[in-house]
């Protein structure tokens, strides 16, 4: 079905929903790279007008990627909750924006990823913050994440050679600065099963030695984690990068069935807990040639439909990691981070954001400070904590332990309650090294 809108005497025509969504998207380099971006500022706003007039019900009749061609489309349409949707089924996309800004309770509306992507495209930054702050998504493992007063931090102690003492030193540094409640999660430099198992055992040893109410994760490929479970390693969370198309997930070496199998394996060890941890990011589908001509922000929202299926403890967009060909500069990264957070929350996810950039993007610490502050105001579930903001393994910049302290202090947020009580018991927060956290206790 074609759509049209006239602006300043020019009639802009959009062939189908996929094209309309792409043309309506605020400018980013990845959509230009894919050849789907609006050709002018006027065309973009015309598309936003046409999109605002589109009834939400239309999204249930026109898929951006054919039902037959993609299991993510089937997941979205087959799993659509028509009863929940009844509350907003009479609205247009523009009407949904007004509804989301006016109402207090905006959780569980039966929205599809494409509807959520659409409404975000006609929102300003302040809208993304205001609406993103409304849904609370609470998840549980050894602590409770997502409460209204909580801003959690994933402690990310990566090391370029997976050196155990190096990882342990970063873990200790982070714990002393209040990080680690979301999880203690290492990106291994290697997918070697022995190394992954050794890291899992070391993190579990630290957690048990200090009786930390948190969960650990080594972010290896899901098949490696499943092998580690089979071999008896202490696996808490199953990690996997995922995306919004079947073809992208295949390029990651995963399928919906494989993810379900992994979740079952982890839940057999931890019944009743949220055991999955997913990372996503705008542009990954295009990077893998798996985008089907759909804009990157809509595809990001479709990834959230995959995540939602597995009731994860943690989901975060690694927003600035992918590089300037997808998000060119600080302005594009900033908006994308706030879009990802709000869209994830509206789709019911415990959304965190890795506030980050690479050295080949036109971005710097000032841009990250702005995004971090806005996300904290928007009630982001968690952020990353990396020593000095410098990830020495992945070669990019994320938020530091200090940044986490700043964001909590600036917005009156606190660590997860169980973790905060543990910090108080250990005497963390003053200037001195707490005796109970002696580095010698973990072999440092």
């Amino acid at each position: 079905m074609a759509f049209a809108h006239s602006l300043g005497g020019t009639r802009h025509i959009f062939d189908d929903l996929r094209m309309l969504l792409a043309r309506a998207t605020p400018l980013r380099s990845g959509d230009a790279l894919a050849g789907v971006a609006a050709g002018s500022a006027a065309e973009r706003v015309a598309a936003q007008h046409a999109l605002a007039d589109l009834p939400l019900a239309h999204f249930l009749t026109e898929a951006v990627i054919p039902y037959e061609a993609c299991d993510v489309t089937r997941l979205i349409l087959d799993g659509h909750d028509a009863i929940a949707f009844a509350r907003v089924s009479h609205l247009t996309v523009g009407g949904l924006r007004d509804f989301l800004l006016a109402e207090d309770d905006v959780a569980g509306l039966g929205l599809t990823p494409e509807m959520v992507a659409a409404v975000s495209k006609i929102m300003r930054v302040s809208d993304l913050i205001a609406v993103g702050a409304k849904p609370r998504v609470v998840t549980r493992f050894r602590n409770t994440l997502g409460g209204a007063a909580t801003l959690a931090i994933r402690l990310q102690p990566n090391h370029p050679t997976d050196d155990a003492r190096g990882v342990a030193a970063s873990v200790l540094d982070g714990l002393l600065l209040g990080a680690g409640d979301a999880c203690i999660g290492v990106n291994p430099a290697t997918d070697n099963i022995e190394t992954v198992m050794r890291l899992l055992e070391m993190l579990d040893m630290i957690r048990q030695r200090f009786a930390i109410p948190t969960q650990c994760c080594v972010l290896s490929h899901v098949t490696t984690t499943m092998l580690a479970i089979q071999r008896g390693a202490p696996v808490d969370l199953v990690f996997q990068s995922i995306g919004g198309t079947q073809a992208l997930n295949e390029s990651f070496g995963v399928s919906l069935a494989l993810l379900a199998e992994a979740r079952d394996a982890a839940q057999s060890r931890h019944p009743g807990a949220n055991v999955m941890y997913f990372e996503t990011g705008q542009g990954s589908a295009l990077s893998a040639g798996a985008h089907h001509g759909v804009d990157q922000q809509t595809l990001e929202c479709r990834a959230y439909a995959v995540a939602r299926r597995f009731e994860p403890l943690l989901v975060n967009s690694v927003v600035g990691f992918i590089g300037p060909e997808y998000l060119y500069d600080g302005k594009q990264i900033f908006r994308a981070g706030l879009e990802d957070h709000m869209c994830g929350k509206l789709l019911g996810l415990p959304m965190g954001v890795d506030v980050c950039y690479t050295n080949h993007a036109e971005a710097d610490q000032d841009d990250m400070d702005a995004l971090l502050t806005c996300l904290a105001v928007a009630g982001v579930n968690y952020i990353m904590g990396v020593p000095g903001a410098d990830d020495v393994m992945l070669a990019y910049q994320s938020t530091s332990f200090h940044d986490g302290m700043f964001a909590r202090a600036a917005t009156g947020k606190r660590p997860a309650p169980e973790f905060e009580a543990w910090m108080a018991r250990m005497g963390i927060g003053g200037d001195a090294m707490p005796e109970a956290l002696s580095p010698a206790l973990i072999g440092l």
């Binding site: 430099a189 295949e250 990651f252 070496g253 990077s287 992918i322 060909e325």
Partner: protein, 228 residues
């Protein structure tokens, strides 16, 4: 070296730590744009004409420039030395890696191909054109704050245009202070032998090489966004 034990002023980093970070970021930004002389037997260029186009158009960095001629060397391991996001990194690490690989490789090594403005997947086009059994792309890794001289290796069995990242194995952080060229060459030879047994690389090739220590990086390529 991780930036641990920085101290704090209120919730911020002390001035010295803050400015040290700013200095490292400035050097890393400059390293992305710097050029270096790479040595090899055959020179090729991608379709990206300059660094700016390379950064904005990764698709062009995966395609060989029109009219590229390459020698056939069927059955060989083709080694591609690619600038990637840090030409100085691959210039510094590739010669020692290739020298260490020669006595260990289970496959004959073909002519060394130098590729400019190149992405990892350019190796598929090079390897296919040369009839290679496998291609190892030695490529400059995105400069970080503490390392602006790091190289990665992406090994792909039976290279053809269109291979996905899940079909490669990766060895990363090859540099002084990271993984040594000798250890990386040993890992590459091990992966190559395993690939010959499986007739495949990627997530199907589990890195089960006994870890003498924890210092043995080699991961499936995994998330596409990780690739230079």
């Amino acid at each position: 070296m991780a930036r641990v034990a920085l101290g704090r002023v209120g919730t911020a980093q002390p001035t010295a730590a803050h400015l040290a970070f700013q200095a490292a970021h400035a050097q890393a930004r400059d390293a992305v744009w710097a050029q270096a002389v790479l040595s090899g037997d055959v020179m090729v260029h991608s379709q990206a004409r300059d660094r700016r186009e390379y950064l904005l158009r990764p698709d062009l960095g995966r395609l060989l420039a029109p009219g590229t001629a390459l020698p056939a060397c069927p059955g060989a391991l083709v080694v591609v030395v690619a600038d990637g996001l840090c030409a100085a990194g691959v210039a510094a690490q590739a010669p020692a890696l290739i020298a260490a690989l020669r006595p260990l490789t289970p496959l004959p090594i073909g002519p060394v191909v130098v590729a400019s403005q190149a992405r990892v997947a350019l190796g598929d086009a090079v390897g296919a054109a040369m009839g290679a059994r496998a291609v190892a792309v030695l490529i400059g890794e995105r400069p970080g704050l503490s390392a602006q001289d790091s190289m990665g290796i992406y090994l792909t069995w039976a290279p053809v245009v269109g291979r996905t990242d899940a079909e490669r194995n990766c060895i990363s952080n090859i540099r002084p202070g990271g993984l040594s060229a000798e250890a990386a060459a040993a890992k590459l030879a091990w992966l190559l032998r395993a690939a010959m047994g499986l007739c495949a690389t990627g997530v199907g090739l589990k890195d089960d090489m006994p870890a003498a220590s924890l210092a043995m990086p080699a991961a499936p390529a995994g998330p596409a966004e990780l690739l230079p």
